[in-house]
Amino acid sequence: MSTAPSTTERSSKSQNHKQDAGQSQYRIGEMSCLTGLTADTLRYYEKIHLLRPVSRSASGIRAYDDHDLSRLRFIQRAKAMNFSLEEIARLLEMREDPQHARDEVRELTHRKLDEVEGHMKELETLRKELTLLLNLCRSTEAGCPIIEDLDRS
């Protein structure tokens, strides 16, 4: 029987990241697993300064920490809202030091907040529409005539 570790075991081992003064440390492969971003993307974000310079071990291996993870998750959320990388860089600037943010960055943050709230309203309407559709279908036994009617209209 093979003694190779299962995928689950490998995944579990990858979670055994180092602890440094209360901060977890992650290698690039681990960070890739945690975020779903490729190693190339992680290196690119560092290169364009979306991430601060990542610390390295004596052998040059990148060691990401929880702060990097938090920034990366923010970047992913902002990208999901179609914010540009340039906008995200400025929002991260605000995130690092909100009290001393430049007026221009503050205004951008306001605009982006408006965009997010508009998006939430759209999502809320869509949630209601889907709920109503499902409830209308629930009472029918054969097929879903309501959706068929909507398709025709």
Partner: protein
């Protein structure tokens, strides 16, 4: 004073006919000119139904506000109609 009552119904809805019967009965009992009611087919007026917050049928809106979802008792319906009919204009925002 007249209140505007809308019953949101759909072709597959088992209880919608019963709600409409209740409305007919109450409109007759409370005088038809005080209750201006109509049936709204959610398939035809889907956006309007969603705008009012209708998530299932039957549902009843009074003066443009969703007040009941499901089949209410005739007493609950009568009480709500009376509340609207006796309220000062603009005070039934709850």
């Amino acid at each position: 004073m007249t209140i505007k009552v809308e019953v949101f119904a759909s072709p597959s809805c088992g209880q919608c006919g019963r709600v409409i019967d209740l409305l007919r009965q109450l409109a007759k009992e409370m005088s038809a000119d005080r209750i201006d009611w109509r049936e709204v087919n959610v398939v035809d007026e889907f956006d309007y139904a969603v705008e009012l917050g209708v998530l299932a049928t039957p549902a009843i809106a009074i003066d443009g506000r969703l007040r009941f979802t499901g089949l209410p008792s005739i007493n609950a319906l009568r009480t709500e109609f009376e509340r609207y009919l006796t309220a000062e204009p603009g005070t039934n925002s709850a």
